[in-house]
Symmetry: C2
Subunit: 639 residues, 2 copies
């Protein structure tokens, strides 16, 4: 086995500014290219475009009416019209076949070429046809209602400058100039090499027993590359074999403007990459004084730039967003979106004193007044779920010891398209809740369990906590209502072991799959064990010890039932609704309430009101009734 | 000829809200579809995604170190380590081939599967290998440094809700769940039918003598459709032939969710469309009380929705942005960008009293403090150049009589990607100026000529005016410096008519092509004519009358030279630089100064300072010297 104990230590961490400079010093910008007009939106002009023709290209009638010689109409008015001989007509898109002489007029439509001789147009509303003549009731000066050739755009004029971003209106001007091939800045090609023997592409079969996991970083970073104006190219995964890694990295470097490696947290893979860059390219720096991202590598490989990203998904996205995306945008000629950064207030006090720049992943929410609140997430857990909890990053200076509650901070969003949730809910996961959330605009729910949910609600950050079972609710909160659900033991279909109830778990040698201590349904189970213990005159702990698997508590509400479905357990703690969904048997142990409790400071926040209304509607339209064992419950306390 | 005098009058104009409702009532939303994960960025989830697997799928070491039974380490510390027998190693991505018994340990790397028997990991830093054993210098509890299966995402949990916009981080979560095909909202297909016999597609040959013009609206609106989340489909142009129009519209309706007609201002074409919709579909409304866009049609055709847009480019984009784009976004499930609207102050007072909603195209600029200023552009001129001068639209209520200078207004941008210019310059067009502008970040220049430029500078809106020739500069302004240029008569190559100077224009029957009265070079010409008249003791007007073509004044600075190149004139008013560029002959009549004059309220605005610096640099690096007849001039007055 390679590397576990001899992996490289990064000692001389460079300043983050040095890393920015090193990445800026790399040349990512590809050559300019030409794209069809229909594909030019969102691109950036590579060079100035001068008009090569007049718009319009001819003297053009700008009204429906009659083309005349202006001086023929002098003196005409409503009372004393001038009568001109009609000599023909000119339609838009045709070449005039008439000439307008003295005392003559030709019918003309908007956009038509002015016939020779005519220098003005009388609008149709001020005329009247009288046989082969037209009575003109107004005087026009030469040039009236005529747009001279080149009035709009003159040939030779600077139309659009280099660096102009092409939005619909610029596309319009290019159309007017007849340009169907547009010279634009090239999009840098970015090769992404994932490292780690354990990575599997989404869609492929996952062999969990071998420790395989789906590759998260490749697709996340590829999407980030495209968003920054680059073109992403995914390369096969590389393990920590030197020859393979070298071959892949060099292939990517030959084909791309920038190569990013990303994926594994394996120190040995980082070591191998380090050696490849040192031997086949130029390592500019390794190790940056930033958290996360300490082991970041920056260098050159063949004629391409190279940056190595950290392995954890949020860390990889953070380093990409902070150091790499700006370089890709720069190379593509795109400015950073104005909404890539938002300002908010810290919802909690956050301590920090580690002596290096911290790029702190944060979530956003809104207070009752609609002001943005910011709270830290993912304290280095490496969890992929943090990806959707974290909206962006706050850069905390090395000499900042803490961020105070209420302190203003700037959040660099992970994407300009990131939308802060309209509601932050935490607590007990539940299938009815999932359906309820589907009816809301843009909610965020963190399934941390009832106890942890209440604890967080007490901390003041979330808008609401979802609490199930006999959990102590001693947190200042407002009851928004809820529902009840039947809980018990999920068993195989047909209940082959003939499990009759809780006593069977205690008295027989059955393999049980429990939920974790934060789950409300676990509190219901513990209460039932307590009751049985009292009946039998023994301690609760004694009964719990007798249940095989009591100590193993899964976080997911379906996990025990899925263990039963896989044949890994004889019984699992769960809901009737889950058993029914998975086609399993169910032994009821009771009914528990699920309630939504709101942060007292947020009851009038739109997202909370929307939830409250959705809850009410759901009670009426059968959302709960459609789930086995569910019932809407009437509101237990004042709103 | 059809329609000029019998075109439909729209009498009963409906309220704009009714038009919004009518368009909302149309069903544009296509079916959901499935796209590969790599193409899912920017799309919107069509349905809720629940996790169908645990992440991680196995109990996972979260540190490099040794997998142990936690209870074996109880009591271990630096002073008194516990020694465990090494039984093997587990690497990430491989299935463990060891089992950890009592008193045993297995080397393990981050991300590897926990071997059977082990329940905790001791980090490598707190251990030391001693032969076939490992000394453990810290106690770990069961579960320490282990991420249990499902801790990150539990199978059965709601992962992403319907309507979620997919940014890189959501792509990451989908990857983690192994999802490579994503159910997303369909993008509405929008067919665009241009009307007008005179329209030609960019890239095709333009026959100006027939009054042909390039089709601006099709590409502009197509880009707007794509930006709003739809897919645009361009159809061939239709004239005002009923059969052809019917065939095209019905074909588009059969293939698309929405059909837009756009292009011509021809009333007869609108009439024909009106009849097609009435006969083959359902006309919901015709005519909306809004300026522009009065003749807007809304209806259904076959199973598709139909909206008719006005013909002038800015009007078409305005109506599209206000009425149609929101419906496309709604159908695609996309929210409007937060930066689609900006707030600013009116830079000028603007009167309005027409009794219907006015969608006023406006330009943006910044004052010295960086605050956004808003000014009206394109008062119904139909000019395509307004497309790049207008940044968006201000909706002015029917009962608003005027917008005061300084009044706050909300501007709906034509695109969230529209960037307000860093500099608003107006005045004399000039090839050196074009090169200078190329060096600035995002300037806007309106080539209105020296006189009009000065007038506008006096009005207080622009940042700078570029003024050439002997034009009265009686406007309060600050001189930023400038250059000089040689002007005179552009003649055919080799000067076949042997034009010697101004006197030849007066005395011989030569066809002359002049510039318009706003041009500074025209002022130079007029001054030279004045001088010649004085020499001869006649009036200036007498000499001017003797010049054939004196009254025809083009707006474009290259236009006279281009007329000479085409053989349409014997001599044209212009610059030595232009003659050289076009390979023509030149008869010098003198040198004139070109100066940049700044608005006194904007001299410290970054864009103006940038221009000032660019001007200085250009004087040093040869920008002027590279143009025939040009010279940098020293600054004439205080800065």
């Amino acid at each position: 086995m390679v590397g576990v104990s001899d992996r490289k230590q990064f000692r001389d961490l460079v300043d983050p500014d040095v890393a920015h400079d090193a990445i800026e010093s790399l040349d990512l910008a590809p050559d300019a290219e030409t794209v069809p007009l229909a594909e030019a939106r969102g691109r950036v002009l590579a060079e100035r475009i001068d008009a090569d023709l007049d718009v319009p290209g001819f003297d053009r009638a700008s009204m429906d009416g009659y083309a005349v010689r202006g001086r023929d109409t002098f003196g005409a008015d409503e009372v004393d019209p001038v009568t001109l001989d009609l000599v023909g007509s000119v339609h838009a898109g045709t070449e005039p076949d008439v000439e307008v002489g003295e005392g003559e007029a030709a019918e003309i439509s908007t956009g038509a070429v002015m016939p020779d001789g005519a220098d003005a147009v009388v609008m149709v509303e001020r005329t009247e046809e009288v046989g082969e003549a037209v009575a003109v009731r107004t005087a026009v000066a030469p040039g009236d209602n005529v747009m001279l050739a080149g009035t709009d755009v003159a040939a030779g004029a600077r139309a659009l400058g280099p660096g102009t971003g092409l939005t619909p209106r610029e596309i319009g001007l290019l159309s007017a100039l007849g340009i169907d091939e547009v010279p634009v800045r090239g999009r840098p090609t970015v090769g992404i090499v994932s490292t780690g023997d354990e990575l599997v592409r989404p869609g492929e079969e996952l062999r969990s027993e071998r420790g395989e996991i789906y590759d998260v970083n490749s697709y996340t970073i590829a999407a980030g590359v495209e968003e920054a104006g680059g073109e992403a190219e995914l390369y096969p995964h590389a393990g920590d074999d030197y020859e393979q890694m070298e071959r892949l990295l060099v292939e990517a470097a030959e084909e791309c403007d920038l190569v990013l490696s990303s994926g594994s947290t394996s120190a040995s893979a980082v070591d191998v990459i380090y050696r490849v860059i040192e031997e086949r390219g130029d390592l500019l720096l390794h190790g940056v004084a930033v958290k996360p991202g300490k082991p970041m590598l920056v260098g050159e490989l063949e004629d391409s730039a190279y940056v190595g990203l950290p392995g954890y998904p949020v860390s990889a996205l953070t380093i990409f967003r902070t150091f790499v995306a700006p370089a890709i945008r720069e190379a593509a000629g795109l400015p950073e979106s104005q909404i890539a950064t938002v300002r908010g207030r810290m919802a909690v006090r956050e301590r920090y004193a580690e002596g290096r720049l911290r790029l702190m992943p944060v979530g956003l929410l809104a207070d009752e007044a609609g002001e943005t609140l910011v709270y830290p997430v993912d304290k280095g857990s490496g969890a992929t779920t943090s990806l959707v909890e974290a909206d962006g990053v706050v850069a905390v200076d090395p000499d900042t010891e803490y961020l105070d509650e209420g302190e203003a901070v700037d959040v660099q969003l992970f994407s300009p398209d990131v939308r802060a949730p309209t509601l932050l809910a935490v607590g007990e996961d539940d299938p009815a809740l999932s359906r309820l959330l589907d009816r809301l605009e843009n909610p965020r729910f963190l399934p941390v369990g009832s106890r942890e949910g209440l604890r967080r609600l007490g901390g003041g950050v979330p808008d609401v906590a979802v609490v199930a079972g006999p959990v102590e609710r001693d947190v200042d909160s407002v009851d928004l209502g809820g529902w009840t659900r039947e809980w018990g033991l999920v068993v195989p279909d047909g209940n082959p072991a003939e499990v009759g109830g809780l006593a069977d778990l205690v008295d027989r040698d059955l393999a049980f799959h429990n939920r974790g201590r934060d789950a409300g349904v676990r509190a219901s189970l513990d209460a039932a064990i307590e009751e049985l213990a009292a009946e039998r005159g023994v301690s609760r702990a004694e009964l719990a010890d007798a249940i095989r698997g009591y100590e193993i508590g899964s976080k997911g509400f379906e996990s025990p039932a899925r263990a039963v479905a896989r044949g890994d357990a004889d019984a699992g703690l769960g809901l009737r609704a889950t058993a029914e969904k998975l086609g399993l048997g169910f032994v009821s142990l009771g009914t528990e309430s699920v309630g939504i409790r709101a942060n007292p400071d947020r009851t009038e926040k739109p997202g909370v009101e929307e939830l409250s209304e959705a809850l009410e509607t759901a009670g009426e339209d059968g959302l709960f009734a459609s789930l086995a064992g569910y019932e809407a419950s009437s509101l237990s306390s004042e709103r």
